[in-house]
Symmetry: C2
Subunit: 210 residues, 2 copies
């Protein structure tokens, strides 16, 4: 079953969209996620729905329509927000995640060396989001990585979740949702797309009236 | 070697079906799940998709077609397997979960008092499943509760997952998938149904060829 809702009817305001593949038991990587093994031991199954591979993001575009759509949405984001750990596990994407858009790397202790390519180290979450929004213009912001996701969720700075739910139990590994306060965040399922070996679930975070 | 078992074409063999409502962040209850507050602090949202309430299972039947279908499946199961904690949080369902079917309550230390109604305390998982299968005949077995789920998953005794994914992040609470070994369990999404405020995802566990 596929239900699509038009998410572009919000006056073009930039949204922070957490985009992650995760197992049915909630892991974004298996145990021992280290450089060269960014998805952890035997964690590659989480990216089986992505085609190709390598450094070029566009080579990951699946051939099925739902998979192509969700990857195209990623490639259309105007900035990337990521935690340093995820950034380094991915070797900084060679300094270019996609299309040369600005990459803001959250870290407590920026290294002396500047970040490669279009990446910048940022220590403050609020200013990271502000700078990403400025860089993205009316395009969305791609949020990636479990730690960055948790930091922004705690700060109430996430607008949508794009979860690629992979039909596997990993048993152990790195959880996407962890160390969050016991505050309920109501979600609204705005789209679900079923691709081969993956369910793409898009949720909007309901915010308190400001 | 992994093969797919066709559960719908296996001569009516009884399946063990884990049936749980859980939040998008993987919790089946909020913090402090105690008697009288079985879903934990503010955890009732996980059962919002169920109508009515009270001791009578049939009063929980939602009016939407997907919700009615999944509840009818629960009511058609021929035995219940549950952990003692969940059983006691639910006050033992008054000794009758539904239709008087046998309830097998997993516990390490059975109390001196016999279990109420059609319930029986069982200490051994394998024999609990065997007895439940005998009681259920060709009907499925309802597996309920996080601890029992984990015990049976560890033992490779679960056939299907029926997850009612509720659009909320609870942040903290009791996880459905926890303390499992780092052994991948491949799943196959065999059905997804979208009801109001809930996504019913049914997965079949792929088993090694025997």
């Amino acid at each position: 079953m596929v239900r699509v809702r038009d998410m572009r009817n919000d006056g073009g305001m930039s949204k922070v969209v957490l985009d992650m593949s995760l197992s049915v038991d909630g892991f974004v990587a298996g145990p021992d996620d280290t450089p060269g093994q960014g998805l952890g031991a035997d964690g590659e199954v989480l990216h089986d729905w992505l085609a190709g591979g390598g450094d070029d993001r566009t080579s990951l575009r699946p051939t099925d329509a739902p998979g192509a759509l969700v990857i195209d949405e990623v490639l259309q984001t105007g900035a990337v927000l990521v935690g340093r750990r995820t950034f380094e596990l991915a070797a900084g994407w060679g300094g270019d995640h996609h299309g040369g858009v600005a990459i803001f790397v959250l870290t407590r202790n920026p290294p002396d060396e500047p970040a490669p390519g279009s990446a910048t180290y940022v220590t403050d979450i609020e200013s990271a989001v502000a700078r990403a929004k400025e860089a993205a213009g009316d395009r969305d912001i791609l949020l990636h990585g479990a730690s960055a996701a948790q930091a922004l969720l705690r700060a109430g700075l996430v607008d949508e979740l794009q979860l690629h739910l992979v039909p596997v139990l990993l048993g152990q590994g790195r959880r996407l949702f962890d160390d969050l306060p016991p505050d309920h965040v109501e979600l609204e399922l705005v789209r679900e797309l079923q691709g081969p070996g993956v369910l793409h679930l898009r949720y909007r975070l309901r915010k308190e009236a400001g």
